[in-house]
C-alpha cells in the first residue's frame, strides 16, 4: 500500500495553515480537495491537532531561520520584525518549494512587495534587500552562461550592416542595479555587527555578477554603462539599442551621434570581453 498520498497531504497541511485548520474542523470541501480516501483522511484526523500545530510552528521557525541565513544583512536590519513578516508570509502564501533556496527567494520577493506597500524602517533596508535578493537570484543562475555565437560576432561589431543583425543580451549571471544608498558601505558595517545610523544617500549603480565558483562580485558603474547593459534585452538589435540610447542621452547632432555610437560600440566590445554581454544573430538572420 502506498504511503505517498498520505505523506503529500500531511506535507501540505503542515505548510498551509488555513487548510490545516479547516481540515481539522471537518470542512468537507477542504478535505475533498486533498482527494484522500476516507481511511487516509481519518489517519490525519487521528493526529493530535495541538501537537501538529506546535510542529507546524516549528517548521515556520525553521524556514525563517533558513531564509535569514540566506538574507543575513536584511535579517540583521529587521531584527525581531522579521518574525512578524515571516508569519504574514506563511499566512498569505502556502510555501511549496523544493529547496530552502527557493523558499528564501520567495520570502525575499514577499518582503520586497511589503516594502513597496509600506516603506521599511530604516529606509535603506529596501536597498539591502534588493542587493541580497539579486545575489540569491544570480547564484541560482550561476551555470547559465552562454557564449555560443559571441566570439564570431564580436569581430563584426563595428560593421554597420552587422549592427542591424546582432542582438546583444545581458548574461543571466550578471545584473545591474541602482541603489539610493551606498549599499557596499552599509553591508560592510552590518558585517561588522553595526547598524548604520546615517548612511550616505546617493544614487549608486552597481553591476553584480556571480563568478565561476559561485561567489558574488560587484563593480560600481556609471549611469551610461548601466543604461547600455539594461538596453541589451536580448530582443533589440544593436543598432536600435544605440539609436534609442542616443535619444535618451540627447545626442542630437550628427557629430554627437557618431561619437556616441563609437563609444557604445567600444563599451559593447569591452562588456563582451568581460563576459557581461553575449551576442547572437537576430532570429531571421540565424536561419538565413
Amino acid at each position: 500500500m502506498s504511503e505517498f498520498a498520505f505523506q503529500q497531504a500531511l506535507v501540505r497541511l503542515l505548510t498551509d495553515t488555513k487548510a490545516r485548520h479547516s481540515f481539522f474542523k471537518g470542512d468537507v470541501q477542504v478535505m475533498a480537495e486533498f482527494g484522500l480516501p476516507l481511511e487516509e483522511a481519518q489517519r490525519i484526523l487521528a493526529i493530535d491537532p495541538e501537537r501538529l500545530e506546535v510542529f507546524a510552528d516549528m517548521l515556520t521557525g525553521q524556514r525563517l531561520n533558513d531564509a535569514a541565513q540566506m538574507l543575513p544583512l536584511t535579517a540583521q536590519l529587521l531584527g525581531s520584525r522579521l518574525h512578524y513578516i515571516a508569519y504574514e508570509f506563511n499566512q498569505e502564501i502556502t510555501p511549496r518549494y523544493s529547496t530552502k533556496f527557493e523558499h528564501a527567494l520567495a520570502f525575499a520577493r514577499f518582503l520586497k512587495k511589503q516594502f513597496g506597500e509600506e516603506p521599511p524602517s530604516p529606509a535603506f533596508a529596501e536597498d539591502v534587500l534588493t542587493y541580497e535578493m539579486t545575489a540569491l537570484e544570480l547564484f541560482g543562475k550561476r551555470d547559465e552562461t552562454d557564449f555560443a555565437q559571441t566570439a564570431d560576432l564580436k569581430e563584426q561589431l563595428h560593421e554597420a550592416e552587422a549592427q542591424t543583425k546582432i542582438v546583444p543580451s545581458r548574461q543571466p549571471t550578471h545584473q545591474v542595479l541602482t541603489f539610493n544608498y551606498d549599499v557596499a558601505e552599509i553591508a560592510a558595517e552590518l558585517k561588522e555587527g553595526r547598524i548604520p545610523t546615517s548612511p550616505l544617500r546617493q544614487p549608486l549603480n552597481i553591476l553584480l555578477r556571480v563568478n565561476a565558483v559561485g561567489l558574488i562580485e560587484q563593480d560600481r558603474i556609471n549611469y551610461p554603462t548601466l543604461a547600455f547593459i539594461e538596453a541589451c534585452d536580448g530582443a533589440t538589435p544593436l543598432s536600435e539599442v544605440i539609436e534609442d540610447l542616443a535619444s535618451i542621452f540627447e545626442q542630437n547632432t550628427p557629430k554627437l551621434r557618431a561619437d556616441f555610437q563609437q563609444k557604445c560600440l567600444n563599451l559593447c566590445e569591452a562588456l563582451v570581453e568581460r563576459g557581461v554581454i553575449t551576442l547572437r544573430l537576430s532570429v531571421p538572420e540565424a536561419y538565413a
Partner: protein
C-alpha cells in the same frame, strides 16, 4: 567496514560561528560532525572550508534531507551532492535520519515522523540498502524527536528501530536526547526503551540539550547536555561494543567555548569508567595517530 574504523572519541557538531574556536582547540576535540547540507549548492569557498576541516580533524558527515521514509525513489540529485561532499572530506561514515522531510517538489526542511508499521520498515530498509551501496563508508540512521504519532502503529518505536537496523544492516546513530524527549512527550521510561533497541549496533551517539515549549520537550540543541542524558550514556556505554564516537550538538545560545569542551571531557570520563574498549584502544595515543593518518589520507603532509 565498521570493524576497520577506530574509535574516534568525543567530538563536536561543526557550526560556522564556532569555527575559530574549534580550529584553535584541535587537541581537545577528537573529531567533527559536518552537516553535509551546509556544503551543497554553496559557493566553492564553502567546499574549501569542508576540505580544510577534513584536513585538520577526522570527520563524519551528517545529512538532514535524504528523507528515507518518503514513499518514492530517493532524490538521486541530492544523493550525488552528498557524494560530492563525501569525496571532498572522506568521512569515516555518513548518516541521516529515520524520518521523512518532504515529497518531491515540496520540502518541509523538518524531520517528520513515520508510522511504525511493516510498510514503513519496508520503505526505509529498501532506501537504506540503496544508499549504503553507493558509499564506500558505513551509512547510519538516527532516531528523531517526534512530537506527534502517525497511525496506524503496529509496533513500538523500539521494535521499529530494531527491525530497520536488523533488516538493512546499517549502523545506528543513537540520539540520547531524542530518546529522553520522546520518553517525556509520550510518557514512558527511556531506560526501558534503551533496553529494547539493538545497542550493539550503535556506532555513534548524539548528545544535546533540549527545551520545553508549549508542553513538549523540543530538540532545540540550545542548552547544555542534561545530566539525565549523560546518565543515559553511562547506562548504555557498557552495551555498545561498536561505538566509534560521541558528538555534542549545539546550534544556538552558545556558551563560552570552554563549557562545550568540558562536555567533551565529561563524555571521556564516562567512557573511561563505563566503556571497556576505551582503555584497550589506548585512545589518547590513538588520537594523535588518527590525525596524522587523516592528514595523509586527504593529501596533506603533517
Amino acid at each position: 567496514m565498521l570493524e576497520e574504523i577506530p574509535f574516534l572519541g568525543a567530538g563536536l557538531g561543526f557550526r560556522r560561528v564556532l569555527k575559530d574556536e574549534i580550529l584553535a582547540s584541535r587537541g581537545k576535540i577528537d573529531f567533527l560532525e559536518i552537516i553535509s547540507d551546509q556544503y551543497i549548492d554553496r559557493p566553492l569557498i564553502k567546499e574549501e572550508e569542508a576540505v580544510e576541516l577534513a584536513q585538520k580533524f577526522p570527520v563524519v558527515l551528517h545529512g538532514v534531507d535524504l528523507s528515507i521514509g518518503t514513499d518514492c525513489p530517493i532524490d538521486d540529485d541530492y544523493l550525488k551532492k552528498i557524494h560530492h561532499v563525501a569525496r571532498l572530506t572522506k568521512p569515516k561514515w555518513v548518516s541521516d535520519h529515520l524520518c521523512f522531510t518532504g515529497v518531491p517538489g515540496h520540502s518541509l526542511g523538518q524531520l517528520t515522523p513515520l508510522p511504525f508499521t511493516d510498510n514503513t520498515v519496508r520503505i526505509v530498509v529498501e532506501h537504506i540498502k540503496q544508499i549504503s551501496a553507493t558509499f564506500d563508508c558505513p551509512f547510519l540512521v538516527e532516531n528523531i524527536s517526534y512530537y506527534f504519532l502517525i497511525s496506524p502503529t503496529t509496533m513500538s518505536e523500539a521494535e521499529f528501530i530494531t527491525r530497520v537496523v536488523g533488516e538493512s544492516g546499517c549502523g545506528l546513530l543513537l540520539d540520547l536526547a531524542n530518546v529522553r524527549n520522546n520518553a517525556i512527550n509520550n510518557n514512558y521510561d527511556p531506560i526501558k526503551f534503551l533496553d529494547q533497541i539493538p545497542l550493539d549496533r550503535v556506532v555513534q551517539i548524539h548528545l544535546a540539550g533540549s527545551s520545553f515549549n508549549r508542553g513538549l520537550m523540543i530538540d532545540t540543541h540550545s542548552h547544555p547536555v542534561d545530566r539525565e542524558v549523560f546518565e543515559m550514556l553511562r547506562y548504555t556505554a557498557p552495551k555498545m561494543p561498536m561505538l566509534k564516537g560521541v558528538i555534542v550538538e549545539r546550534d544556538q545560545n552558545y556558551p563560552p567555548f570552554e563549557e562545550l569542551l568540558a562536555e567533551l571531557d565529561q563524555i571521556r570520563d564516562i567512557l573511561a569508567s563505563d566503556w571497556k574498549p576505551y582503555h584497550a584502544s589506548g585512545i589518547a595515543g590513538e588520537l594523535s595517530k588518527q590525525m596524522v593518518e587523516t592528514a595523509a589520507h586527504v593529501g596533506v603532509s603533517s
